[in-house]
């Protein structure tokens, strides 16, 4: 069998890559993709613990399903924001949108 540790390592690596994407990318949509990677890492973690600790209860599954809903809501509003920003600035590069920057 696969040890639980392996899942945790993969999800930690995925989370770190997502974090790197969020911090380093210019394009706002790419930043959102980094966030998606992080949410997926979290979901792998949740389900791995569900499988190894409490597979007979549905708590882990319910948690993961609700993470789906949150991710979808976040993407919907985030992308709508980018469209609104693009209309105003003709760009979605995060470093060019600096009206509030001092």
């Amino acid at each position: 069998m696969i040890p639980l540790n392996w899942y945790l390592l993969v999800s930690a690596a995925l989370f770190a890559l997502g974090l790197f994407g969020v911090l380093s990318r210019k394009n706002a949509v790419a930043i959102l993709m980094g966030v998606e990677l992080m949410l997926n890492a979290v979901n792998i973690n949740l389900l791995a613990f569900w499988r190894y600790r409490a597979p007979t209860e549905s708590t882990g599954l319910a948690f993961a399903v609700i993470v789906f809903a949150v991710a979808a809501a976040e993407v919907a509003v985030g992308l709508a924001l980018f469209i609104a920003v693009y209309r105003r600035f003709k760009s979605v590069a995060a470093d060019e949108i600096n009206l509030l920057k001092w």
């Binding site: 399903v65 789906f68 809903a69 979808a72 993407v75 919907a76 992308l79 709508a80 469209i83």
Partner: protein, 117 residues
């Protein structure tokens, strides 16, 4: 787990078959490339510059409503599977859920987000 092995094999095969067709076409067909043949097709006109397309916001709105529906359906499927074991009030909760979904649809409708202008 057995089912997943079968499905994995099937998905692999269903990628393999069209790939095989494409490879067969690549090797059996002639290959005489020239710049005009490989140019982008534009009803005979020469293409100017890069592909430069601006889309309507409608496409985003359609996909958005679809996304909301898709996620809600993920909630509704387990509910439907468990349906025969549920008491009446739980069915009512499902109906409330569907009503909220309908409210989302009605909002998008009233706002004109579903209009193809």
């Amino acid at each position: 787990m057995n089912a997943w092995i079968y499905i994995a094999i099937f998905i692999f095969l269903s990628l393999f078959f069209p790939a095989l067709l494409a490879v067969a076409g690549w090797f059996l067909g002639p290959r005489r490339p020239n710049p005009i043949k490989e140019d982008t097709y534009e009803c005979g006109l020469e293409t100017v510059g890069e592909t430069w397309v601006q889309f309507k916001i409608q496409y985003y709105l359609f996909a958005l409503v679809f996304l909301v529906f898709d996620v809600e359906l993920v909630f509704l499927y387990p509910w439907a599977v468990a349906y025969h074991k549920l008491p009446l009030y739980a069915v009512g909760e499902g109906v409330l859920f569907i009503a909220l979904l309908a409210a989302a649809l009605i909002y998008a409708w009233r706002k004109g987000a579903l209009e193809w202008s």
